[in-house]
């Protein structure tokens, strides 16, 4: 079997603190954004500094996706929500938990990087998601 590959480059890494999202912070106004880009979407300044966030997060908004959206290659149903990371960064993400009764506002979540689907040539494709801390 081929080595796993990320769903696209530059979104996440695993370092000594665990799985991390690769965000960026503006050198001028200080606001974070994700995925990391060279220009701040808040103030338009050039020059951002890579900053890694996670794995700890808090759940803000959530729902469940019951039927397959266009282009999606993982399993349904799946959870879908907005989590808050360190520094106030909010990101949209898939959730490993699709049962609404197991989710709640403010729930402690943890970033996971795991295979979402397998390419036609057998290569596992890694994506990021958040799972409830207790799970």
């Amino acid at each position: 079997m081929a080595a796993a590959r990320p769903i696209t480059g530059g979104l996440f890494v695993v370092d000594e603190e665990g799985p991390r999202l690769v965000a960026a912070r503006c050198a001028a106004c200080g606001k974070p954004h994700f995925p990391a880009g060279p220009v701040c979407p808040y103030c338009g300044a050039d020059g951002t500094v890579e900053t890694r966030v996670g794995p700890a997060a808090r759940l803000w908004l959530y729902t469940a996706v019951l039927s397959r959206p266009p282009g999606y290659r993982g399993e349904v149903p799946y959870g879908f929500g907005v989590v808050e990371l360190a520094g106030g960064l909010r990101v949209i993400a898939r959730l490993t938990e699709a049962r609404m009764e197991r989710l709640a506002p403010g729930l402690a979540m943890r970033l996971v990087i795991e295979p979402l689907f397998t390419d036609d040539d057998g290569t596992p494709v890694l994506s990021y998601a958040f799972r409830p801390e207790e799970a």
Binding site: I7, T8, L11, K31, P32, H33, F34, P35, G37, P41, Y42, L61, Y62, T63, A64, V65, L66, S67, P69, P70, G71, Y72, R73, G74, Y78, F80, G81, V82, G88, L89, R90, V91, I92, A93, R94, M100, P105, L116, F117, V125, S127
Partner: protein
């Protein structure tokens, strides 16, 4: 800048028309609008065509089919606000004196099911992040959590719009639905149920703008897009998820339009606003200043927006009952409001309507607010 008037309007009904081409839908709307305006070949100097899925030269194909080409024709894409953007661009041509008369059209044949959109990068689609109804659901959940909007309120919005739509022969669904029926429909994405969401569909609408005085004037046409933070801290612009203190595209477009027209929410007699889902209608009402911020739940429970209330909203039935052909939806609102302001809206006439507002907002977080007046 000189005043801009609505010389004529035309509409192809919204629905599903498997046997008819996109060009045929557009041609019907254009012919109806030109006939209403009394404008023929050579009578307009430019055309702006709103469409999202119409493909290459969609507007050119319509005008060529009718022997009306030769003028400048520009296709305009602005998501759910495409038709409004086309009208705003056309109005500017007339207001500036560049042209005497401009044709604006909008047309769409939407694919069935969840809308596929090149807006999302391929990896976001593969990762399951291109789930449009789920974004609507998150917005609805936030609204419910922060402003005491209940599931029953969402159902009442949908019931109201469907009731309004019964009187509109151009709507796709002309069936009254009860709050209980809506609450019993299948969950699409919690908290939104099937009958709380509009259906993507097909249709066309056209508006003739002119410098020659007519009953209805375009008093304002404003376009705005989101600021970072009026969505999320990532490159996924999505209207309706705002950081506190950052104005949304609708709030910005409404402020511009109210200033341009010299009116405020209290002056409005009739409104057509974006109701892609029932929660969107409540959020739109709040953002346009039709009710208090975070007061949308109470507004619905007090009958806000219903026919016979102080300010009827979506007398056409809205997108919930008409369906949403993206490029045509905003101009469909203008067709409805022009009929209202002319006193020609038949059984759904809002008595004495003089000041109207049309609102669209969509993917990419772009909003258009138009104020037609009598």
């Amino acid at each position: 800048m000189r005043p801009v008037y609505v010389a004529g309007v035309g509409l192809h009904p919204f629905g599903r028309f498997a046997e008819r081409s996109l060009t045929a839908l557009g041609a019907d709307a254009v012919r109806a609008a030109l006939a209403d305006a009394g404008v023929g070949r050579g009578g307009f100097q430019a055309a702006f065509c709103g469409t999202v899925y119409g493909g290459v030269a969609a507007g050119h194909k319509v005008l060529t089919a009718l022997g009306l080409s030769g003028v400048a024709i520009v296709n305009v894409e602005a998501g759910c606000a495409s038709g409004g953007a086309a009208l705003a661009l056309g109005a500017a041509q007339v207001a500036s004196g560049r042209h005497e008369c401009v044709l604006v059209l909008g047309l769409e044949k939407m694919p069935r099911g969840i809308i596929r959109s090149s807006f999302f990068e391929p990896w976001r689609e593969e990762a399951g992040l291109a789930a449009t109804p789920a974004y609507f659901a998150l917005r609805a959940q936030r609204l419910m959590r922060e402003s005491e909007v209940r599931a029953e309120d969402l159902a009442r919005v949908s019931a109201t719009n469907h009731r309004h739509g019964v009187a509109n022969p151009d709507a796709m669904y002309r069936k009254a639905l009860s709050v209980d029926e809506i609450l019993a429909s299948p969950v699409v994405c919690e908290p939104l149920r099937l009958l709380m969401l509009c259906a993507p569909n097909e249709g066309a609408a056209a508006v003739v703008l002119s410098a020659r005085p007519a009953a209805v004037r375009v008093a304002a046409a404003a376009l705005r897009s989101h600021h970072a933070g009026s969505v999320l801290g990532e490159h996924t612009p999505l209207s309706g998820l705002a950081d506190d203190g950052v104005p949304t595209p609708t709030e910005m477009a409404a402020a511009d339009a109210y200033a341009e027209a010299g009116v405020g929410p209290a002056d409005l007699d009739v409104v057509e606003l974006q109701d892609t889902d029932a929660a969107r209608q409540i959020l739109s009402a709040e953002e346009l200043g039709l009710c208090a911020k975070r007061g949308g739940g109470r507004w619905v429970r007090d009958g806000g927006g219903e026919m016979g209330s102080d300010l009827p909203v979506n007398p056409s039935g809205g997108l919930l009952s008409k369906g949403e052909p993206l490029g045509a939806s905003a101009l469909g609102q203008i067709v409805e409001l022009t009929r209202q302001l002319r006193g020609a809206a038949g059984p759904r006439q809002v008595p004495g309507a003089r000041v109207a507002l049309a609102h669209t907002v969509g993917r990419g977080a772009r909003s258009c607010v138009i104020v037609p007046t009598r």
